[in-house]
Symmetry: C2
Amino acid sequence: VNLGFLSGTGIEGRGLALRFGSAGVPVVIGSRSEERARTAAASCNELLGTEAVSGCSNTEMLGRCPIVFLTVPFANGVDAVEACRPDLRPDHILVDVTVPMRFAGGRPEFVELEAGSSAEEIARHVPEGVAVVGAFKTIPAHVLAEVGTELRCDVFVCGDRESAREEVIRAVGAIPHLRALDAGPLVMARALERMTWLAVSLNRRYKRKGARFAVQGL
Amino acid sequence: VNLGFLSGTGIEGRGLALRFGSAGVPVVIGSRSEERARTAAASCNELLGTEAVSGCSNTEMLGRCPIVFLTVPFANGVDAVEACRPDLRPDHILVDVTVPMRFAGGRPEFVELEAGSSAEEIARHVPEGVAVVGAFKTIPAHVLAEVGTELRCDVFVCGDRESAREEVIRAVGAIPHLRALDAGPLVMARALERMTWLAVSLNRRYKRKGARFAVQGL
């Protein structure tokens, strides 16, 4: 199954594309600009020495991919979903990886949303039938992009449709040293997004960059 | 330095008392009932084969201990603090370990508080000068109580007074296989308390009991 990356030319999209691509999963980077998508795909393929990654317009990507990662900064999430509404079908799974944070004077601040979480806000904007799943929220994009670094952590997958969570968990299974955990309903994104806020704060305090979580005792 | 446990005869208080006591730290279990406190202390000492744990009234405990853990269920936290206000001094550090959760039809639900977190709510009720620190929120009480189980996880310590966080982190240093991380200001309890909600949800889904967190890459 093809995995798509909506506006996936940034660090988050390329990071995920590299991890899945290096595991042999066919991935499609979409962009509003077909050229930027092709360029991003080519640089991924060069790095991996494969042809696993292709690039095209967001519209074409949505036509080819049943599972689509929303890989835009948090502040652009709703706009990006609204822009591609005509191309979203009821059988699409939209995987939200965004975290509502901003930096105030160098300090990471969590943005409290009326919806409770970024994932729940996104879910309000997709056409009926589209399943929103939250995942990869707690894994730093630049760690994903360093394909030589073993992840050795967990990815938490939440969403209100169980079959959609299961499909995402199955897809994640291709990535080595990464355990996918079923975190339950979409409301659990309220925990996951704040964990990233914690991880970013810890990175800042301890002058590191790759803080991420592993669950013990499970 | 003596560590105190306010109304510490429950599973959370005894679990922490056992961990610190088994590391040779003198701990004092307080209770509204002196007899219950002595009984709980005796059972801890018997289990450990030491005399590290003593029991007395909450008032006496507060007189003997500069660092006091609030080891009551979330729903009783504010009442417990209000009840001991006369005995709280400005140099006390009050360590809140509570998590605002309830179970609805067997499912764990997070209780959204107006203050944002249980720790911030507690902080509104302590006398001026008392430092509130959040810690041990993400470690299951019954795992603490199983002293034979290596913790192998992190404890996240948050609070608005840096020196208080440092004192708690130093105290935690006595417990083996447990890393104390400075999580920053008290507002970070909003992340920590929701992580426990996630851990309890994972326990339920995967039929385990000891889910807890370790940060990788730090």
